[in-house]
């Protein structure tokens, strides 16, 4: 067999196809934008997608872990809002930033761990538990205050205004944080025992249990990660807006789920890649950018386009699943 024949016979492993489809979709959308709109191809426009969606990216990373185990976390948007609110309130009461930062992260993680424990030990559907978590977190926001709280703390304003420059381009520190989170999660999912367990639990809880894998620790772990990521996302959002409010991030859970699904992760769990989620967030960001550049399209088109994309990818998943059978 010649090398050419081998090359022609080479077939992509089927498991990469969804991620590649998302990558292709992003490439097409970005090219269409670059061709149609003047200035769209500017690198800074691309970097702005990251700057504007850094918090969504972090939240979507946490959501990926949860969905890979076959669960879902509806509380992320509310936890993001709660984090902005707690940061705003604590800082306004004169707490130092180095105490507030770890504290809100710990609270986010603890909320996630609590939900994970209820889901695992009491066998209640993740959907309803995280729904209660969402009510709880939003309710707590409004108990702190019904108005938005401005943040004037030095650390926050510095982080909001700092731009990391290279040449003519710049990114915000939040982007660096998001990228670090993505890299850490990529490593955890691909190269650690915990990552393997996540896929195993998502593939089949019974089998994972019979193999002797720590299902309880994994299940509670992914919800803790999602809670932590939401809290971190909330911090990034508060750097971005320099305020805390209970009305922030309404419906963010839908964007995060959409990004994960568009990224090719199966909602039944056990299959998917974090790289897909990153591409999914990029696709959502590109939709927003295109609609901004178009100017004549109203903001609600974003939601319709996201809905259509969700539909396409979910139907694709179904077709793939039926074929496998």
């Amino acid at each position: 067999m010649t090398t050419a024949e081998q090359f022609l016979r080479y077939r992509l492993p089927r498991r990469y196809i969804p991620v590649l489809a998302t990558g292709a979709l992003f490439a097409v959308m970005y090219s269409v934008g670059a061709i149609r709109y003047k200035g769209f191809s500017d690198t800074q426009v691309f970097l702005n997608i990251f700057i504007d969606n850094a918090f969504l990216l972090v939240v979507a990373v946490g959501m990926t872990f949860v969905i890979l185990t076959g669960g879902i976390d509806l509380s992320v948007g509310a936890v993001v809002a709660l984090t902005t609110m707690m940061s705003g309130s604590l800082l306004a009461h004169g707490w130092p930033a180095f105490v507030v930062l770890p504290m809100v992260l710990a609270i986010g993680g603890a909320l996630g761990a609590g939900m994970g424990a209820i889901i695992h030990y009491f066998e209640i559907q993740p959907f309803i538990v995280t729904l209660a978590g969402m009510f709880l977190a939003r309710g707590l926001c409004y108990t702190i205050s019904t108005d938005s709280i401005p943040i004037t703390d030095g650390t926050w304003t510095r982080l909001a205004q700092t731009r990391i420059r290279f040449g003519n381009y710049h990114i915000s520190p939040s982007v660096v944080v998001a990228v670090v989170v993505v890299l850490a999660a990529l490593y955890a999912l691909a190269y650690t025992r915990f990552g393997r367990n996540v896929y195993a639990v998502g593939g089949g809880e019974q089998s994972a249990l019979l193999m002797g894998l720590p299902v309880a620790r994994t299940r509670i772990g992914v919800y803790t990660i999602s809670g932590l990521c939401s809290a971190l996302g909330g911090l990034l959002l508060s750097f971005y807006t320099l305020s805390g409010s209970g009305t922030y991030a309404v419906g963010l859970e839908l964007d995060a789920i959409a990004a994960v699904v568009i990224g090719g992760t199966l909602l039944t769990g056990g299959s998917g890649y974090l790289a897909g989620t990153v591409l999914g967030v990029l696709v959502l960001g590109t939709i927003q950018t295109i609609i901004t550049f178009q100017g004549t399209l109203s903001a609600w088109w974003t939601r319709i386009v996201i809905g259509v994309l969700l539909l396409l990818f979910i139907l694709l998943q179904r077709v793939a699943a039926i074929r496998r059978q």
Binding site: F122, E123, I124, F127, I128, F135, G139, W300, W301, I304
Partner: protein
């Protein structure tokens, strides 16, 4: 007495009665009902009227949940249908024309049915998970509603349309009568025919029911259509009550309240059994709770906190694993002492186990 407390509607009824009595402490005239211009007025009537759309949507949701599914899109469907009706009426030369209003209402209801059929097609036809299938319409629906209203809040001045959500008939608010009528028809259809049993069969185990000759797909499809219909009528009530359509905020998060009402009423989220009476009670509890919080003077936003606590407690009590773990010590001696035949009945039926 024990048989009485074991009745499945005992706890919801008790919760509602306690809530209502609690109100009497804060508002002395809480139970007063006055007759003004031939209409009934009073806090209780207010609660009934505000609970009507929620009760209706929850009734649709009950059947969906009974098949083991869930419909997250009801809030969006409600907003879309309200928007369509208001748009049609606002475009009329004479907004008070009864014929035009009826046509608008019919169109909106038909749209609700079509949207329900869309959800049904995705779940029953393509086999997409219900949470995900209805998530699509939840995300895109708000956009569609705003597309219909062009991002504006459409205000209508139509006396006949206003009757749907704010009118009175025989002294009672029309939305309450509509909700009672719809729920009664649903109860008759499901409990006086085999339909209810078939729905429960599909929820218990779709594959097994198909093998037993039940047209599981058709039944699944139908419950989503019914849920869409209920959401459309609720959308008419809400938009008519405030004489305007707000694509962004009408019925926001009502899907969560509806699910909560269903759960409070004793319908298990895993499917396989349902109680429409319980759901109506659940909707009344939620509305009474909301009204109570308003009258007592607690900031209304904290309603969410109460709901979170209530959902958690109810779900924990419903969970067999929780009962096994927490009540284990108390139960074990009973198993030893009591007759073995009685014990298994305590365990809830239709769970995944």
């Amino acid at each position: 007495m024990i048989a009485f407390t074991r009745h499945k509607l005992f706890w919801p009824v008790l919760a509602l009665v306690l809530l209502l009595l609690g109100n009497l402490v804060f508002t002395p005239g809480f139970f007063n009902i006055k007759v003004l211009d031939g209409h009934l007025y009073g806090s209780l009537i207010d609660i009934l009227r505000s609970a009507a759309p929620l009760a209706l949507i929850s009734a649709g949701m009950t059947l969906v949940i009974a098949t083991g599914g869930i419909d997250l899109s009801v809030g969006s469907v409600l907003a879309i249908c309200g928007a369509l009706a208001c748009l049609r009426i606002s475009k009329q030369a004479d907004q008070g024309a009864v014929g035009g209003v009826l046509l608008a209402i019919l169109l909106a209801v038909a749209l609700g049915v079509v949207l329900g059929a869309w959800n049904g097609m995705l779940t029953a036809g393509f086999g997409v998970q219900p949470i995900i299938a209805t998530l699509i319409l939840l995300v895109a629906g708000r956009g569609l509603a705003q597309l219909i209203t062009s991002g504006q809040i459409i205000t209508v001045r139509s006396p006949p349309y206003r009757k749907v959500g704010a009118g009175y008939f025989l002294g009672l608010p029309i939305p309450v009568l509509i909700a009672i009528g719809m729920v009664l028809i649903t109860v008759l259809l499901t409990r006086r025919s085999a339909l209810g049993m078939l729905i429960e069969a599909v929820g218990g185990n779709a594959t097994a029911s198909t093998l037993a000759g039940v047209r599981a797909r058709r039944i699944t499809f139908m419950v989503y259509v019914f849920s869409g219909l209920c959401a459309a009528i609720a959308g008419l009530m809400i938009s008519s009550n405030v004489s305007s359509a707000d694509g962004n905020n009408a019925g926001l998060f009502i899907e969560l309240d509806a699910i909560l009402a269903v759960v409070l009423g004793g319908t298990a989220l895993s499917g396989g059994r349902f109680s429409l009476g319980g759901t109506v009670l659940g909707a009344l509890i939620i509305q009474t709770l909301t009204t109570t919080i308003y009258t007592v003077g607690i900031p209304p936003e904290t309603t969410l906190l109460f709901k979170a606590i209530v959902v958690t407690i109810v779900c924990l009590i419903q969970s067999p694993a929780f009962r096994a773990k927490v009540f284990q010590r108390r139960r074990r001696p009973v198993v030893v002492a009591g007759p073995a035949a009685v014990e298994p009945e305590k365990a809830p039926t239709g769970d995944r186990a």
